[in-house]
């Protein structure tokens, strides 16, 4: 808080008797604007603030570093091979000994990433949102905590463990049922669905919790059934939060690596059939990174760059979605 005008004492329009008299006395004593420098209490505060600020701007610096290093490592591929040959080609045939002679089209993997993510959301979003609504509205008290804890436990399971589970249980099961190899986008989507459920559930639950209790009560008091209250009041009021939850789930699905790599089959083909093998951006990086170098490695970094751009864009969308909630405030 600072002062704008320094106008001292106003004239007394009515003259005496003036209850403000003592102010004049004080002014005449000349002590009104004494400066005490002896204790500038602010100094340690400012120092602390500075230090904290520097620490917090490290985050910005790290993001900057990530961008710089991923970008600079992908530049050779984009420059030497051309934007078009990387992003709009489905031909991926790296040449290890003479990298420049190979083909590095990542379209098939981009396609794999998008399709497995969509699959994961089709399976995982209803589960996640449904579970959140269940916890918020339907579950009996003793079950609420249990389900929520369960969801948190899923969130904590390392991705290699889920991948191993997928590889040893889901893939053979799919192979048995569909009479294919079992590896493929469907298996990947299943595994990913498991992994996005906790993200979507916890964030949707948060969004539902943010809906004021009294609106819920108002609906119930008007004789609405539970489903009417959920569908007409709770879900609309938390729509943006739930959308954000799904988008963040999407982020998770796009970025997941190890679990997908174990079950997707790691083929190089462009495919739209969920039961066929392909790769995603992340799994291709892991599959090929081992002995790559030169433009080959750079092309893998270019896929990292795509992932980076994906998540940055999604985050910006989420932030926009969560800002300025339309009607509620």
């Amino acid at each position: 808080m600072h002062r704008r005008s320094g106008r001292l004492f106003g004239e007394n329009r009515l003259g005496a008797p003036d209850p403000h008299l003592f102010l004049y006395d004080l002014r005449e004593m000349g002590i009104s604007r004494s400066v005490r420098l002896s204790r500038i209490v602010k100094t340690p505060d400012n120092f602390v603030k500075c230090a904290l600020f520097i620490c917090s701007s490290l985050t910005v610096f790290f993001v900057f570093l990530v961008i710089v290093f991923i970008l600079s490592s992908s530049v050779p591929a984009l420059k030497e091979l051309g934007f078009k040959n990387v992003f709009f080609s489905t031909k991926w045939s790296p040449n290890v000994s003479a990298p420049l002679k190979g083909n590095y089209g990542i379209l098939a993997f981009l396609n794999g990433t998008i399709l497995t993510t969509i699959g994961a959301l089709i399976l995982g979003a209803p589960l996640g949102v449904g579970t959140a609504v269940f916890i918020d509205e339907y579950a009996p008290v003793w079950l609420k905590g249990l389900v929520f804890r369960g969801v948190e436990i899923i969130a904590g399971i390392p991705s290699v463990v889920i991948g191993w589970f997928g590889l040893t249980l889901l893939v053979p099961m799919i192979a048995e049922i569909t009479n294919t190899s079992g590896y493929g986008m469907f298996a990947a989507s299943l595994v990913l669905a498991l992994m996005v459920v906790p993200t979507i559930t916890t964030l949707s639950f948060e969004a539902l919790q943010a809906v004021p209790e009294d609106i819920h009560d108002a609906s119930v008091a008007l004789g609405a059934t539970r489903w009417q209250t959920v569908s007409r009041v709770l879900l609309p009021a938390s729509l943006r939060g739930i959308a954000a939850a799904v988008i963040l789930g999407m982020c998770r699905a796009i970025g997941e690596t190890m679990a997908v790599q174990m079950v997707i089959g790691n083929a190089r083909q462009l495919t739209f059939n969920p039961l066929t093998r392909t790769s995603t951006l992340t799994t291709r990086i892991v599959t090929d990174m081992g002995e790559s170098h030169g433009v080959f490695r750079s092309a893998l970094f270019a896929q990292g760059l795509v992932l980076l751009i994906f998540s940055a864009v999604l985050i910006i969308i989420v932030r926009a979605a969560l800002k300025g909630r339309a009607l509620s405030q």
């Binding site: 917090s56 290093f69 589960l127 390392p158 463990v161 040893t168 970025g255 932030r319």
Partner: protein, 284 residues
Amino acid sequence: MNPKRADRIATVVFWSLSMTTLAALLVIIVRILSKGLLKALNPFFVFGKPEALKAGGGVLPMVVSTLYITVLTVVIAFPIALATAIYLAEYTRRESRLTRVIRLCIDTLASLPSIVFGLFGMSLFVIFLGWGYSLVAGAATLAVLSLPVIARSAEESIRSVPDTYREASYSLGASKWTTIRQVVLPSAFPGVITGTILAIGRIIGESAAVIYTAGLFVRKIPLNPLRTGAPLSAYIWYAQAEARIPDFRSVVDGGAALLLIIVLLVNFVARKLASYYREKKIAG
């Protein structure tokens, strides 16, 4: 449709959705533990050295690597994260362009795929700084990865300290830093610790970020942080993907069970601690 009927159908749908989620969890845990628990509890496995070609190897260096790298990561990330959280929660009550940038960066960092951190760590720490595949390179990468997670949960805990405490402190003539140190941080402490432990759970389970930074396989127990390590999660992936040892299935089964147990334990400790502090605060 009759609202009553719709309500009944919706109830069934929501019950089945959430029970599916729970069932999935149960299937995973039962499957992983049923296949690997015996192995995971076998002292020759937990305290044995890994084999490169023969069957019968253990995972002790991997477990040690995991612990080592986790400690290093927290040592690097926690102070920065806490400082960031304090700054954002206490010094930027009002969104300025600068804090918006910081917040955007935190969110971005938090949502980046871990493989991107792996690539980043490899090109910065391993190659550019020349640390090679080493525990520090892995820890530094994991620190950048877990920084936003810790910072955000800490910020939330700090923000959830009621303003009335701050007002009370200020009104007694406390400076801002005194107020933060004496009133805000002690109140936020349980939340901060819980958030950090949860982040540790994530660090322990992380594999994509460490395979190109910390390493995949060691035989000696790593003591020097500048040497290669092999966190358990990375080794599990390595053992199944590069499957060289004949008993890799049982090694992966055991490793997965062991990893799962460790992570669940960590999460359990976090929850227990949180509820302990919650009770203590009230009972005092």
